[in-house]
Symmetry: C2
Subunit: 169 residues, 2 copies
């Protein structure tokens, strides 16, 4: 065994959320330079029944905070989904980074064996071991939303590249 | 320590590539039902300077095979990038799954400490530890391309959902 549950979760979320913050900074600058209504990108969708950019960013933050919290055995903080500006999205990312950065790596020990309850109290409730919760559920979900946020901006002509997506590693 | 390098790589690639195969099956059926030229989706892009669907699938397979091979200390198999049909993309995914499924978990032991050379012999050559290679580079790159393949099909009206993206977990 060579990876801790903390190593395989929090630093991954940190790298990608910091990158997402940079992508959003470029999107805001792009809109300002071209006098594009901020809502045009913030509410853009890749398809009418997909979530808009604002919601993609919110959900990416939600997976980062909820997966980290559950693996650490901490309460999942609740955030209002009220963001409607770039500044507010940056704040949500910062709040998320602050929360997950404050969790102690030691809290994650043994979480690979801990049972996690997905969608508790709903008809889709499901119990899953911590290891599968992170690798087979949490990371794919998180990466889905950070990638879709990027794809959506790229599709709308914002000049970002793979380097912006990847962040500092 | 609670995760092996094998656990955090091969099964993740397997889950997501099997899911991608299912998404492509739905895309092909969608095109056939509506008499859409197969090239319309296979060559679709989210933006003119982004890669088309065929290339997104090829690269997703490439990261799965190269990350797995390098962590296992095996030679990276070389595939021609000649696919131009759904059947050929399915074959590439199957070939990739066959290769990574044939690697022994024991070969991955100690790979977190092994030095990996990215883009060897190019001006962008970079040396990175095995742990960062997987978590900070390989997984983000892999997820980028499987998600973008899905987003691209979703953007073009193929009726797939998050369940199709996630696969069996």
């Amino acid at each position: 065994m060579s990876l801790s549950m903390h190593t395989a979760s929090v630093p991954v979320f940190q790298q990608m959320l910091n990158a997402l913050a940079g992508v959003l900074t470029k999107a805001e600058a792009h809109a300002n330079e071209r006098r594009i209504d901020h809502a045009a990108l913030l509410q853009a969708r890749l398809y009418p029944d997909m979530f808009p950019l604002v919601r993609q960013v919110q959900i990416a933050c939600d997976f980062a905070k909820s997966v980290s919290a559950r693996l650490a055995g901490a309460d999942v903080p609740s955030y209002d989904d009220s963001e409607s500006s770039y500044a507010e999205l940056q704040q949500r990312i910062a709040t998320t980074l602050n929360f997950i950065g404050g969790l102690d790596a030691a809290q994650f020990e043994g979480s690979d064996q801990r049972e996690i309850v997905l969608r508790p109290g709903t008809p889709k409730e499901r119990r899953i071991g911590g290891q599968a919760y992170l690798l087979a559920y949490g990371l794919p979900q998180f990466f889905f939303h950070v990638t879709t946020a990027y794809d959506l901006l790229r599709h709308n002509g914002v000049e970002v590249g793979k380097k912006d997506f990847m962040g500092v590693y």
